[in-house]
Amino acid sequence: MLRLEDLSVRFGGLTAVNTVSLSVGTHEVVGLVGPNGAGKTTLFNAVSGLVKPSSGRILFDSTDMLRTPLHRRARMGIGRTFQIPQPMHELTVRENLIVAQRFGTGAVDARKIDEVLEFTGLTDKAERHAATELALTELKALEVAKALATNPKLLMLDEVLAGLETNGKRRFMGMLKELHEKFAVGILIIEHDIETISNLCHRVAVLNFGELIADGTPDKVFRDPEVIKSYTGASDA
C-alpha cells in the first residue's frame, strides 16, 4: 500500500531521512522506532506532504505522492496524528471531526462521526472546545479520531502513547488493537516503548540518524546488536 523508495529529506546540511526504503502492506501494522532525532517524524511529514523530499519516491497504492497535492492525500487514504497534538484550535471536538470527514472523504455522515466519537471515548466531550478544554489523553484521542474521520487506509500514529499514565496507556493500546480490525486500516506507528511495539506490530523498522538500520519481525529486530546499540545509546530519552 505504502512504498518508500530511497527516500531522503534534507534540511540544509542535515540529512534527516537518508535513502530509506520501506513498505507498509494493506492491513499490516508496522512499528517505526529509533532514538530522538532519528528522522521518524520527518518521514511522516514527507508522506503526508508537509515537507518536500530531496530525492526518492513515495508510492501510495502505486500513485506517486510527490505529484499528489497535500490536500488530496487524505482523500486517497493517508491519515496521520501529530506527535504534539494539533487540534483545530477554534473548533469544538465535533467540528474537528466534521471538517476531517467533509474534506477528507468528500461526504458528511453524522452517524459515522458519532461512531468515531464513541470509539475514541470522546462522546462526552463532543461539544467541548478542542484547544482549551481537553486533557492530554483526550487530545491524543482526538488526534486519532480526526484521522479516522477521514476514512484512512493507512493510519500513521506519531507517539500517541507517549506521556500517558499506565492506565491511560493500557486503554489506548486496547483501542489501537481494536481499531486495526474495526476500521480495516494499515498502521505505521512511531513508538519508543519496545514492549508496546512487540505487542502491537507485525513488523518493525529502525531508523538511526536518518538511516534504516533494521526491518523485520520485532523478535528478530530487537535482538539485532546494532539496534540494541542505537537503543541503549538513547535509552535515557
Partner: protein, 317 residues
C-alpha cells in the same frame, strides 16, 4: 436562517422609518449613504480577514475596477445599470485573479503585495484612455433607473439600493460562515497544517474568500459610480476606499459580521460631523490615533467590548 426579533425590527426601521423620517433631508441621507458605502467595503474586507485570515490593503482596486467595469458597460455597451453593477462585481473578481499568486504570502507580505497590485489597476485606468477616458475620467455615468414609478436615483432610492446590497452581503456572509467551508476556514487560523492533512485545500478556500470579498467590494464600487455619476482614476482607486473601511472594521470588530457596519457608520459620521469641523484638513489623523488606541485597549474592536458582559457569562457556563 434564524433571524432575531431585534434584527427584524432594525430591518423594518431601515426600510420604512429612515426614508419616512429622514428622506426629505438630502444632507442627512447623503451622509447615511456614504457611511453605508464605507460599511459595505468594511464588511467585505472583514470577511477576508475573519474567514480568510488575510489583511488586504488593496481593496481600493476592487472598488475601482467594479466602478469602471459597470460605468463602461452601461455607457459603451448599453447594459442596464442594475445588471452592470453585478458585472462590476464580476470584474473585481477577475481583477482578484491577478492577485492569486500572492495568496501564498503571509501576513504583511500579502498585504504589501496586494497593495502593489492595486496600484497597477490605477495605472491601467489612467493609461487606457480610449476605454476609460484616461485621467480626465468619465462624466455622466448613467443613473439608477425608475422602477414602477419610483425613482431609484433619488437619495432615498439610492439608500434603499445600498441597504438591500448590505443585507444580501450580511446573509451571504452568514451562510458562508456557518457552512463547512466556513468551519474549515476557522480551523485554518491557528492550525493550518492540521487542517491541510485532513484534506482541506487551504489555498483554494482562501482564494474563494478573496473572490467573495472582491465581488462585494466591486458591486459597492459600481453602486457608488452610478450614485455620483462620474469617475476618474484618482478618485476610483483612492487609498481612502481601503483605509476608512479598515479603520471602521477594526474599530467595530472585524471578527463579527455587524461590527464593520456599526464601525463604518460610527467612524464616518463622527469624522464628518465632529472631526471635520475641528480640523478641516487632516481630520483623518484623528481616526488614525483612535485606531491605535483601539488596537491597544480592545484588540477585538468595539462590538466585543459592548458584548463583554454577556460573553463572560457564556464562557463561564
Amino acid at each position: 436562517m434564524k433571524m432575531s426579533k431585534t434584527g427584524l425590527a432594525v430591518i423594518f426601521a431601515a426600510y420604512v422609518l429612515v426614508p419616512l423620517l429622514l428622506g426629505s433631508n438630502s444632507y442627512v441621507m447623503s451622509l447615511i449613504v456614504a457611511a453605508m458605502i464605507i460599511g459595505g467595503i468594511a464588511l467585505a474586507w472583514a470577511l477576508l480577514g475573519n474567514l480568510g485570515g488575510m489583511v488586504s490593503f488593496g481593496h481600493s482596486a476592487f472598488f475601482g475596477v467594479g466602478a469602471y467595469v459597470s460605468a463602461i458597460l452601461t455607457m459603451k455597451a448599453g447594459v442596464p445599470v442594475l445588471a452592470a453593477m453585478l458585472l462590476g462585481g464580476v470584474g473585481a473578481v477577475v481583477a482578484s485573479l491577478a492577485m492569486l499568486p500572492v495568496l501564498r504570502l503571509r501576513g504583511p507580505y500579502f498585504a504589501l503585495a496586494i497593495l502593489a497590485y492595486a496600484h497597477i489597476f490605477k495605472i491601467l485606468a489612467t493609461e487606457w484612455t480610449s476605454v476609460t477616458g484616461g485621467s480626465a475620467g468619465l462624466a455622466s455615468v448613467p443613473r439608477f433607473p425608475t422602477l414602477m414609478g419610483f425613482d431609484l436615483s433619488s437619495k432615498t432610492g439610492s439608500y434603499l439600493i445600498v441597504l438591500s446590497l448590505l443585507l444580501v452581503f450580511i446573509a451571504a456572509y452568514r451562510v458562508i460562515r456557518s457552512s463547512h467551508y466556513g468551519i474549515a476556514l476557522r480551523a485554518m487560523h491557528d492550525s493550518e497544517d492540521a487542517t491541510r492533512v485532513v484534506g482541506v485545500n487551504s489555498t483554494l478556500l482562501k482564494a474563494l474568500m478573496l473572490f467573495v470579498s472582491a465581488f462585494m467590494t466591486g458591486v459597492i464600487g459600481a453602486f457608488n459610480v452610478h450614485y455620483i455619476n462620474f469617475l476618474e482614476p484618482d478618485y476610483a482607486f483612492s487609498g481612502l476606499w481601503v483605509t476608512l473601511p479598515i479603520v471602521a472594521a477594526i474599530f467595530g470588530g472585524y471578527r463579527t459580521i455587524l461590527g464593520p457596519l456599526v464601525g463604518a457608520v460610527t467612524v464616518y459620521l463622527v469624522d464628518q460631523l465632529i472631526f471635520k469641523n475641528l480640523i478641516p484638513s487632516g481630520h483623518q489623523l484623528i481616526l488614525g490615533a483612535l485606531l491605535v488606541a483601539m488596537i491597544i485597549f480592545s484588540p477585538g474592536g468595539l462590538m466585543p467590548l459592548l458584548r463583554k458582559g454577556t460573553r463572560r457569562k457564556h464562557a463561564a457556563a
